[in-house]
């Protein structure tokens, strides 16, 4: 790996630019450079690893022990990436991408435009919005946020902490806290009971997958140590200056717990803003309840030369993100003439075979941890748009009264999606609320249009671009 220090070190052109140094991006860069493709990897984080392997290169023995085998397993991928021939710039944020594959990159207060003959978007996932009453109170965070604190700072919360929601990451976090000897007050499991029935057809595939033993062991261990409330709904966080209690109903009975931290999670969804801003076509996936970019087997999107891999394409987890990244790199290498057809066919067949058991396991997980329907759209007294402070009731009324057809029309009435987060925290909830009230599919409703810059960039950075490229401001149009 050629570790770059500043934007000055960036060439104007690369054969391949990979955005994101998580499992997908690292695996892709390893494969591409092995085939002799001149590759640059950009990541806004300070170090390689992505979400799952965040801070893997600096983890202390104590953190490695607490975070578990899957996390520690990332060290090898990170090492292989470090030994590859890829160029890498940390703390480099991509705030713009065009159909001509020109990227706007910012780093250390400066900005630069560079071009990739091919671009791979490996930007991963973000937490699915969980719009319950009180989710904006200090002390309420996502489970992913707790993991980031644990990985990057070795920090844990307590003493009165409650986890609420559903999904593998929730149980993983609980097991990591237990491994660190940090007590959990309770887990509020919102998984609807009927999910089991819907998941059963995929049970054989799951049992044959590597996820089965791992998952079962993890859940059993946590259940033994922590009070778990099952079939939880009507969640609400309460408090004045910060969260003080959570109210909920479990199997029809009302409860209230005093606490000082509430961690929410019901799955992750692809981060789409960069691909949306360049106009990639998207499709609604009812199994994963989110949008997916439309892409070929090798990850090419509707825009030629722009590829997508990893959790930013569909939520398949870290192992498959690695396979996907490598698969995209093979496709890219072939399209650049860096490998021949026979080698390509051979390697693709091998990858497909190796990834099959993981894929079969994921179908079960999707169904088993499908979020509770009422948590996908905001309750009346929950803020749906955190930035502009739009209540669920206002959203419902506006859609109903003004016969709003789609999210972009709604922006004009409520400003939702126009705050600094650019709809990342409300887009899915808004689309689903409109779809529900109109009685149509989210596909018919669509999503917010996203314009660059997709990440914050200062006036100074634009001005600096202006002098060097004579068209800095055009980048925002």
């Amino acid at each position: 790996m050629i570790s770059l220090q500043s934007l000055m070190n960036l060439d104007d052109r690369y054969e391949l630019i990979v955005i994101g140094a998580g499992p997908a991006g690292m695996a892709a860069a390893i494969e591409a450079t092995r085939n002799g493709v001149k590759t640059l990897v950009l990541d806004e984080n300070g170090a390689i690893g992505g979400q799952i392997y965040r801070s893997i290169t600096t983890a202390t023995p104590k953190r490695l022990a607490v975070l578990g085998k899957d996390y520690a397993g990332g060290a090898e991928l990170a090492r292989t990436f470090t030994e590859s021939g890829a160029a890498y710039l940390a703390k480099a944020t991509v705030w713009r991408l065009t159909a001509d594959r020109e990227l706007g990159v910012s780093h250390d207060g400066m900005a630069k435009l560079i071009t990739g003959e091919r671009v791979l978007v490996a930007t991963g996932a973000l937490e699915r919005p969980f719009p319950i009453a009180g989710w904006t109170l200090p002390g309420v965070m996502t489970a992913g946020a707790a993991q980031i604190l644990l990985k990057a700072s070795g920090a844990v919360m307590g003493p009165k902490m409650v986890l609420a929601g559903s999904g593998p990451l929730l149980w993983l976090l609980a097991s990591q806290y237990l491994a660190a000897d940090v007590p959990l007050l309770a887990i509020l499991d919102t998984t609807p009971r009927k999910n089991v029935l819907r998941a059963i057809p995929h049970l054989p595939g799951f049992m044959a997958s590597p996820y089965f033993r791992k998952g079962l062991g993890l859940v059993t261990k946590v259940r033994r140590a922590v009070r778990v409330y099952k079939n939880v709904d009507k969640l609400r966080a309460e408090g004045s200056e910060r969260v003080e209690r959570v109210r909920f109903s479990a199997s029809g009975k009302e409860h209230s717990l005093e606490l000082d931290h509430l961690l929410l999670h019901h799955g992750v969804v692809p981060e789409m803003n960069l691909l949306r801003s360049v106009g990639c076509e998207m499709a609604w996936d009812e199994e994963q309840i989110c949008w997916h970019p439309i892409a070929s087997a090798g990850g090419e999107t509707s825009i030629p030369g722009i590829y997508v891999a990893g959790d930013g394409r569909a939520i398949y987890g870290a192992e498959l993100a690695r396979f996907g990244g490598r698969r995209a790199a093979l496709e890219i290498s072939k399209s650049l003439g860096a490998i021949d057809g026979a080698a390509f066919e051979h390697l693709c067949a091998q990858l497909e075979q190796e990834s099959r058991p993981f894929i079969r396991g994921r179908f079960f997980l999707d169904r088993m941890f499908r979020p509770r329907r009422e948590h996908l759209t905001p309750a009346h007294d929950a803020l749906v748009c955190r930035c502009e402070e739009v209540l669920g009731s206002t959203l419902h009324d506006t859609i109903f009264r003004l016969k709003v057809l789609g999210p972009n029309q709604l922006k004009a009435f409520l400003r939702s999606g126009m705050g600094p987060c650019q709809g990342r925290q409300c887009s899915l909830s808004v689309t689903q609320t409109i779809a529900k009230l109109r009685g149509v599919s989210p596909e018919d409703v669509g999503a917010y249009r996203i314009r660059p810059p997709v990440k914050p960039i200062t006036v100074g950075q634009i001005a600096n671009l202006q002098t060097r490229h004579k068209r800095g401001l055009e980048c925002l149009q």
């Binding site: 953190r63 904006t136 604190l149 990440k455």
Partner: protein, 99 residues
């Protein structure tokens, strides 16, 4: 409150948070440093003055906006601590004013 698992590593730096000097670990984001230093509210909202604090820790929610070395509205979770950094929370005690 948040606390650290490891023994405090030798690699620490001092930063200032609302005029208070605190010692934090190299590698911490400013948001982590704030939470670990006992700061519970990092900003109040412009619309209603409601208290907010880091929610996602990964650059998505923009709840962690603070002033760093005089530059307002920086995402505390996306900036790593540096020696001598001057961090100010963005708490408006008189909400409703237009700023």
């Amino acid at each position: 409150m948040l606390r650290r698992l490891d023994d405090f590593s030798t690699q620490t730096v001092r930063i200032s948070i609302d005029d208070r000097t605190v010692e934090v670990q190299v590698g911490d984001s400013v948001a982590a440093a704030l939470l670990l230093s006992g700061v519970t509210t990092t900003r109040t909202t412009v619309v209603s003055g409601a208290p907010r604090a880091p929610y996602c820790m990964m650059g998505v929610c923009f709840e962690c906006l603070v002033t760093i070395d005089g530059v307002a509205n920086r995402q505390a979770c996306m900036v790593k601590v540096e020696k001598g950094m001057n961090v100010r929370t963005q708490i408006d005690r008189h909400p409703g004013r237009t700023t």
